[in-house]
Symmetry: C2
Subunit: 357 residues, 2 copies
């Protein structure tokens, strides 16, 4: 348990262990930690690039315990002035596209260049024993052993909103701990891409050649969000069809209106397993950073993202506060019945329920 | 001004008249009307299928005057037991696809069958002098003169939420006035389709042959919502390419998962201007009604729609109440600045603002 960055990858171990024992040992371990380290010590550790301190602080962010939440706030507040300095890259793609292999190759490339790389994940469906993302010890094995890398799976058993909050706060801590590049992985289905897109500077979509977007389950909205598409597994017999897919994807991207960033999304080929095309992707991201920093979009986007999260958080809270009230719940059911019986309208019922506030 | 159903179509007249004169005359006309007819008289008129009474009651629904709003509530409440009996059909398609010609032909076909047809529209962008939808006197000229038809343009200068509310309430009045078929037209761009889809039983998408969906500006989400696609202008030299488009659209529709209605969306050809294929579309809608009434989906969908509008209305109100408070507005600005200066996070700011509630 000495290296937190490794333990994040050993989630699956839990599967073979009795769940009760495991839960108990986790509990006692957490109890120990809780009393062990004060927020000030963790802050100091984070700013000294201590990965163990970083991991423990993230655990406080993820905790539902009020004391932990308060400690987490203190830590985030202290880290804020040191944050904001990394480039945040979102990476998405359907299962089977080779996301882990890509992140492993991309991460190694960056650490070889002297960069420090943090890998986070957004996966609301994962749980401590069934971690579907970053939960396999064999995934990203090399990167996990790399001193310049920090890998942290998504908090388990959380709603998308919850995961999004903890991930955004984790980014702040990682940046304060001196990470230059933050990679945020998403599972590539549903709403999580939108959440990731709204917290990264650059959004990369991994694709395979061959099957069309529909068959790969890639929604048009995701293609629309992408700043670049990388067609992975472009090697051997695949190379020809990968080039074809490249041409097709370029054509598809050209149908969309110009982005606010004035950046025309690109389509690149790569073979993560053979380390081919990895540097070209990094160079492109650096170019993106340069272009959008110059035209002001880089900072503007981050500001807009903060505004988005602020409004989103408030709206979610307002709505859930209201609908979770027992009296509202009861009246809502009553009025839904009245609507079905043609005795009131949705708008009249809404007015009545709002009057209870 | 004797026939309200005609006056709705003469909006464009206003353009050539001095705006002041026009506004004044409208005002004095409205003042007259206001004092003229009591809600009870309007209710009686509506239930007697009097179109003038119906039009005046809709004006009360659309009014922002509190007295009118209260009168409208009384009228809606009295009409509710007589509502719910029509079939509500949403019709969408990009400009140029021939929506007015289609509605004219379709409406005439239905009135010839003895049906009474109401045509409403969702177009949040229209205004009294610039009515972009149903605002041209020459549009649907025949239908406008038809005694069994009632045409009412979208309320002007309203937000989508506002138009959606008035349209849903207008549906209730139209049904109480004995209309068998309610056609709801949408402009075919943006969010208004979603609003219409959530208030109709059947959603029909009009398309042209030739250009692909992207080039026609048809979003994939709209195709996904369609219960049927009608390829219009399938006549003369166009017929061959229309048949091709039919095959393509069928293939595209097959890619989507089965609908909850268990209804497999169909693709039909029509030529509204030549009155071809119109009856086939009506027969299909009747079949849809039969199938979904039998499997319970028809009623279930209406109930879900009411629930959707109830929740939507409450959420919108809660959020706008909060964000319109002057103290919240000021604090929001202050905290956005703090976020930009890296002095707080979106989540900490949200918590602070929610604490002011």
């Amino acid at each position: 348990m000495a290296k937190i960055n490794k333990s994040a990858l050993s989630e699956k171990k839990g599967v073979s262990v009795s769940e009760t024992t495991n839960a108990n040992s986790i509990k006692s371990y957490k109890e120990n930690r809780k009393t062990e380290i004060a927020p000030d010590t963790l802050i100091e550790g984070i700013l000294k690039k201590n990965i163990t301190a970083l991991g423990r602080a993230i655990t406080l962010i993820e905790s539902k315990n009020q004391k932990h939440t308060n400690q987490a706030k203190t830590i985030i507040q202290a880290c804020l002035p040191h944050a904001n300095k990394s480039i945040r890259i979102g990476i998405t793609g359907v299962p089977g596209v080779g996301k882990s292999t890509f992140i492993e190759a991309f991460g190694k490339h960056l650490t070889d260049l002297g960069k420090r790389v943090a890998v986070l994940a957004i996966d609301p469906s994962s749980s401590i024993t069934k971690g579907s993302i970053l939960g396999d010890k064999t995934r990203m094995e090399q990167l996990a052993r790399n001193d310049r890398a920090f890998i942290r799976p998504s908090a388990s058993g959380e709603s998308l909103g919850g995961v999004a909050r903890t991930t955004r706060e984790t980014i702040i801590l990682c940046e304060a701990a001196g990470f230059d590049v933050i990679l945020i992985e998403t599972v590539g289905v549903g709403q999580s891409e939108i959440a990731v897109h709204s917290m990264v500077d650059f959004f990369l979509l991994l694709k395979l050649s061959g099957a069309g977007d529909e068959l790969q389950g890639i929604k048009r909205g995701i293609i629309e969000m992408a700043d670049a598409i990388a067609i992975n597994k472009a090697d051997g017999d695949n190379l020809k069809s990968a080039k074809l897919a490249q041409t097709e994807s370029k054509r598809a991207l050209n149908l969309y209106p110009e982005k606010d960033s004035q950046w025309q999304p690109r389509v690149l080929l790569c073979s993560a397993i053979n380390n081919k095309g990895i540097d070209a992707i990094w160079q492109m991201i650096l170019e993106y950073e340069k272009v959008t920093t110059k035209n002001g979009y880089f900072e503007e986007k981050r500001n807009k993202q903060s505004e988005y999260w602020l409004i989103q958080t408030i709206e979610n809270q307002l709505n859930s506060r209201f609908f979770q009230r027992p009296d509202i719940k009861a009246e809502l059911e009553k009025h839904l019945k009245l609507i079905r019986e043609n005795k009131t309208t949705a708008f009249a019922a809404a007015e009545y329920l709002l009057g209870l506030e």
